[in-house]
Amino acid sequence: MVTAKEFLCRCEDITMDDCRGAIHEGYSCFEDLKRFLGVGTGPCQGKACVSACMRLVADERGLPIEAVDVMTFRPPVRPVSFATLAAPDQTGDRP
């Protein structure tokens, strides 16, 4: 039988099953999954996948979602080019 792949983190090509498998191998908190599979490290920096991954950890481990660790969101909020950052007299990304 062929099952459709359900993606958890599209940026990094990680499926729900990849993640489930890792949780059961002992990569059992969000920070582990980030550093083992790369969840949340793609171009969207986790905006599209972090909550889903936390939910999965909670479900697989039978924990309340509040108990699951969340990754540290880091700057910049949106990707900023080297040219913008290097421009004189400008303090941030202006679209």
Binding site: G26, S28, C29, F30, E31, D32, R35, F36, T41, P43, Q45, V57, R61, L63, P64, A67, V68, D69, T72, R74, P75, P76, P79, V80, S81, F82, A83, T84, L85, A86, T91, G92
Partner: protein, 399 residues
């Protein structure tokens, strides 16, 4: 008895505590250093080993570093540790089943000052005597090695084709799993908070998961190692120093070597995911606080577009910071300190280059504990060199 109050155990932590109440060796710190030591101990047949980390793994410096591995140093100690570690990294995937994405694209150092060029030339000759294939190269050759490189303002360069980059995260998982397979236990969210001492020995490590008896203790606590040693009244000249770093969006492979501009300690490499990863030797301070600054991102970006103007449109995805564990001579502290407990082994003070020498530090420390002759003389790394004033700094520290 020394120690502090218990640290609560979060629900997300593995709830089971240590399997036993006593181990031959308790390693404090589950970064590249602590886990390399545990793995090498197990390879020597010492498998009654517990590794403790106060957090989940890969959250210390090992999870935050630039991935650079090089033998271009100016002290015999650093060259020997790095050279032998490069050989070990080549076998890492075969030994552990984890791909560290080790890639030997070389390290290219650029300098903008004549006196520094003379120093680099001398360093290259010295490295050659150790079998490191560093060459002084013309700026035209640098431009061939790094297409699109602008060398205006530079006076010269050196290149060692055998230097490398790797992805630090899999190192930790690889050593952890390989060590566990051999019988080592790794316990996360286990905070060492004190020691029980009898005479000149530590008899047990106090943790938030109970008191654990031991024959040997290893201080592999990275930037926290000074605090840990203080729990037994031992003072290490190790200072935490905050360093920033960033990563770009992924690009097609174009950058072979780690590129270094010595004028501000700028370094950048392209990892196997295609991202550019890099940092600076500036914007550092003594701190365990890891905020990211716009000033850092801007200076990094300015240096990037000065050296590689065509990277202007490339976007920064993420920046972060971590702490070096810095010693006055930028060399690690290894072995048992004369003034501390006789069963407390130091493996800290890596001054921003601990990951690249972790295989060799693991091996030497394991040999010491197993009572074997160590491959290199550990006395050169003794804590006592600081009080005896036998310091010879290695000026090739960057980032």
């Amino acid at each position: 008895m020394t120690g502090s109050a218990d640290v609560p155990l979060p629900l997300i932590a593995p709830q089971a505590g240590p399997k036993k109440d006593r181990y031959e060796v308790v390693v404090i710190g589950g970064g590249a250093i602590g886990l390399a030591i545990a793995y090498e101990l197990a390879k020597l047949g010492l498998t009654d080993v517990l590794v403790l980390d106060k957090d989940s793994l890969v959250k210390g410096a090992t999870g935050r570093n630039g991935g650079g591995v090089r033998a271009q140093w100016t002290s015999t100690e650093n060259i020997q540790l790095a050279q032998r570690s490069i050989t070990a990294f080549k076998n890492f995937a075969a030994e552990t089943g984890h791909n560290s994405f080790f890639r030997q694209g070389g390290y290219l150092f650029l300098t903008r000052s004549e006196p520094q060029m003379q120093a680099l030339t001398k360093a290259a000759a010295f490295q050659n005597t150790h079998g490191v294939r560093t060459r002084v190269i013309a700026l035209e050759e640098a431009t061939r090695i790094v297409p699109g490189l602008h060398t205006g303002g530079c006076v010269g360069a050196t290149f060692n084709p055998d230097d490398a980059v790797l992805f630090p995260w899999p190192l930790v998982w690889g050593w952890k799993e390989a060590a566990e397979k051999l019988g080592v236990e790794v316990l996360t969210f286990a905070h060492a908070t004190g020691f029980e001492v009898s005479g000149s020995r530590i008899t047990a490590v106090r943790t938030n998961r109970g008191t654990i008896g031991c024959t040997w203790v290893v201080n592999a606590a990275g930037a926290w190692s000074r605090d840990l040693a203080r729990l037994v009244g031992l003072e290490l000249p190790v200072k935490p120093e905050r360093h920033e770093i960033l990563v770009s969006e992924p690009l097609k492979p174009f950058l072979g070597p780690m590129l270094v501009d010595l004028s501000n300690g700028y370094y950048v490499n392209q990892d196997m995911r295609g991202e550019l990863v890099g940092g600076l030797g500036t914007h550092t301070e003594e701190s365990m606080e890891w905020h990211s600054s716009l000033e850092f991102a801007r200076e990094f970006a300015k240096t990037t577009v000065r050296l590689l103007p065509r990277l202007g449109p490339v976007r920064v995805l993420r920046q972060w910071a971590g702490s070096y564990d810095k010693t006055p001579d930028a060399k690690p502290i290894l072995g048992v300190a004369e003034t501390g407990p006789i069963n407390l082994v130091q493996a800290n003070g890596f001054s921003g280059h601990g990951m690249m020498i972790s295989p060799m530090v693991g091996r030497l420390t394991a040999q010491l504990i197993a009572g074997q002759k160590t491959d290199l003389d550990l006395r050169r790394f003794a804590l006592e060199r600081f009080s005896r004033g036998e310091l010879e700094a290695d000026p090739m520290v960057i980032g």
